[in-house]
Amino acid sequence: MNRSKRRTGRRHPLATVALLALGLVFTGGAYAAVSSGTAAQAEADPTSQQTIEEGKKLFQANCATCHGLEAQGTEFGPSLIGVGAASVDFQVGTGRMPMQMQGPQAQEKPVQFTDEQVKQLAYYVASLGPGPDIPEDHLVDGGGDAANGAELFRINCAMCHNVAGAGGALTQGKYAPPLTDVSGVHIYEAMVTGPQNMPVFNDLNISPEDKRDIITYLKYVQDNRSPGGFELGALGPVAEGLFIWVFGLGVIVAITVWITAKSN
């Protein structure tokens, strides 16, 4: 009876879901295949004239409005001659440039260019004058001394970025962003170029090895979340106090209401 009832030709209620899942897997897979294909081509040769030419075209189309056709700067944006490839790779590679609007500081947003285009822009600007270069891989791979990095971070960085890299407020609406998902390359570039309100930490201030240690520490914090459980944003006592008042005491008060509900 049951069996014949089931074969009514109607689709199983989960059929739509299964179909959707299948479709998503295919689309996602295809997308991943295509995007890894493009990533393979993303290596731009820093020395080739073609890279620099491409970068110049991109620059003139996307950046020249504020920075000038020859990157000499205008009243809306500073000169980029001599800022180096590191600066461009950081600003464009984290989506801060091109800037969405004038404000206290450039905000992070989705990256507007492919990796290849970012590199082309970077090498074009680097070709205009000497400046800090994009760091080599061994400096940003997180293979240094985390303990030394942590100490340096507390002394040099924590006053703005917070000891756990949770970020912090500065004056007049400016802020030090959280470092919880910044890549090693971008951390290094930020230290050598001093973007937005950040000071420059040159190699005499903090040696490249020490920078590597700092990155190692930040990578450690990024990869090893708190041993104590959920971190509540790593914001310290404010988040903890808010939590105990809203959730801790909230739950307990709800229970007191429940305990005394019957007799009333």
Partner: protein
């Protein structure tokens, strides 16, 4: 008490419980005490359990704290950390910090107990805070309970001291910054400041003595005082009886509720385990005070987002809200009014709150005992004063997180500070006004409901064509709650026996006028009868609507 004799004359062996209780009673005479205490009635209302929340959290703090003392070493001797936490390996730190890290990473269950201790401490003081608000807004501090309010208030201050000394013990960067602020506040006091600071720290800040001293305060002196005061507080609760909310059968002379034994004791005992369980759950799921992030104390770094635990936040906020430039040199000394003003303002606030029961008693001149707790709306001025105090405190409290407010709501730090300065200075007046008006409006609504009943939503057309809404009369039990409260009249100035009006009397009359000028008197019996007789036609109409057609 004696062994039972069965009908056929043979003696039955007494049960173990009987034998044991007889044994104990014959040696301690405890039966009378148990009988007396066990039959005490405890009125049942959720808000009466808030003090228990604090008490139970305190018990959890004591239990977990004892565990922590087995492993914590209160020494500021310097060592190189050699435990399991990689980003601190080899870093120089005090033994206190290293042993706290060992508790966190190398003692089995240590991190769980440490987190439970800290979370329980946060809940303990939050519980006290909410309990105090309940007592304040229901007027449960009135005679005979004024002294118990003061005892509770002293415990609140001691608990803050416990919290502060406790979170300063690990000697991590955050707590060191907190100690530095306290050191600065002490040094900001004229004449005695520097001496006091050197006395406390055993020399120049930070020295090598402070952790050991705080430890003695934290595990010996303050807990001993707290336990003694908790006991005294509870003795007073028994002596005074618990307050209760107005309801039929509840008077100033009785306390209506389940007896302590067995009902209430079982409930409270169960509730202890619930609080314990909630704290255990929180401690196992949520990080608190991750000192491994903060690193060892070093006077040079200060992290962004450095805040004290929530209960010290109002003091930190007060310091943050003082505008720049409030210090000057006079008589070859620096006068730090940026520190003195917050100290005086907060000290004044705390003393005023502690003495409030006496102030109100003086204003009302009421010498009677009060065992029926007020509904907050029925004493509009007190409730408004409370609302103003809460606003003042909350403004300071929020100021302690001004930087986090700025980053998380995309605001400027200066904007947040100015807004909070306004909140702290003007906010209390606005809150006072709004709270008072809301209370009076609610009283008017109550009065309306008592006199004319609930709006039933039923529209009836009268023969004349008029539409009226039928009001449902209130039943007696609900009415009781709405009419049984007291409304004081402003004090009338009268000459005393010597025919004089003293200045004190004038002040008292002025304050009394401010307190009780705007008031809604409870509905009297006569008013009620008058209202009911005038509603007769409506009631008749409802009773026999068909005859009207």
């Amino acid at each position: 008490m004696s062994t039972a004799t069965s009908p056929n004359g043979t003696q039955q062996k007494p049960s173990f419980t009987t034998a044991a209780s007889v044994y104990v009673n014959e040696r301690t005479s405890v039966a009378g005490f148990v009988k007396e205490l066990g039959r005490k009635a405890f009125p049942d209302h959720w808000s009466f359990l808030l003090g228990e929340v604090a008490l139970f959290a305190f018990v959890v703090v004591l239990i977990t704290g004892t565990f922590l003392t087995f492993f914590f070493q209160a020494s500021m001797a310097e060592v190189h950390y050699d435990g399991s936490y990689v980003p601190l390996k080899g870093v120089e730190m005090s033994v206190a910090m290293a042993s706290t890290l060992d508790i966190s990473f190398d003692v089995r269950g240590g991190l769980f107990v440490r987190q439970m201790h800290h979370w329980a401490a946060l809940l303990f003081i939050a519980g006290i805070g909410l309990h105090m608000l309940r007592v304040f807004f229901t007027g449960a501090f009135r005679k005979p309970r004024e002294l118990n309010w003061v005892i509770g208030f002293v415990m609140f201050i001691l608990a803050m001291g416990e919290g502060f000394t406790g979170y300063s013990l690990p000697d991590d960067l955050l707590s060191g910054n907190g100690l530095r602020i306290i050191d600065g506040m002490i040094k900001g006091m004229p004449l005695i400041g520097t001496w006091t600071s050197f006395l406390l720290f055993g020399g120049e800040f930070p020295g090598t003595a402070i952790v050991g001293r705080l430890y003695t305060l934290h595990i010996l002196l303050l807990p001993a005082l707290l336990v003694a005061l908790v006991a005294l507080h509870l003795v007073f609760v028994v002596v005074h009886k618990h307050t209760q909310y107005a309801a039929p059968g509840k008077t100033q002379l009785n306390a209506v509720g389940p007896p302590i034994l067995p009902t209430y004791a079982a409930k409270a005992g169960g509730f202890f385990f619930i609080v314990f369980g909630v704290l255990a759950l929180i401690a196992s799921l949520f990080t608190v005070n991750p000192i491994w992030n903060y690193g060892p104390y070093d006077p040079s770094p200060v992290s962004a987002g450095t805040q004290p635990d929530w209960y010290i936040g109002f003091a930190d906020g007060a310091l943050r809200l003082i505008p720049p430039g409030w210090e000057f040199v006079w008589l070859d000394r620096t006068w730090s009014f940026n520190i003195l003003v917050p100290l005086i303002a907060l000290g004044g606030f705390i003393v005023a709150a502690m003495l409030y029961p006496f102030i109100e008693a003086w204003v009302t001149g009421d010498k009677r005992e009060h065992h029926i707790a007020d509904r907050p709306r029925n004493n509009p001025t007190r409730t408004a004063i409370g609302a103003a105090g809460v606003t003042f405190y909350a403004g300071l409290w929020a100021a302690a997180s001004s930087d986090i407010l700025a980053t998380h709501f995309s605001l400027t730090m200066e904007g947040v500070i100015h807004a909070l300065q306004a909140t702290v200075v003007i906010g209390p007046f606005i809150a006072y006004f709004i709270a008072k008006r809301v209370c009076i409006a609610l009283q008017k609504k109550d009065r309306e409901i008592v006199l004319h009943g609930y709006e039933s939503g039923r529209i009836v057309k009268l023969p004349g064509g008029e539409f009226i809404e039928v009001h449902q009369p209130l039943d007696e039990y609900d009415r009781w709650k709405l009419v049984s409260y007291e409304s004081y009249q402003p004090l009338m100035l009268r000459p005393n026996a010597r025919g004089k009006i003293t200045v004190g009397q004038r002040v008292r009359a002025a304050v009394s006028r401010w307190f009780f000028e705007d008031r809604i008197a409870p509905v009297t019996k006569r008013e009620l009868e008058a209202a009911h007789s005038s509603h007769h036609d409506a009631a008749e109409l409802e009773a026999a609507p068909s005859s009207q057609h």
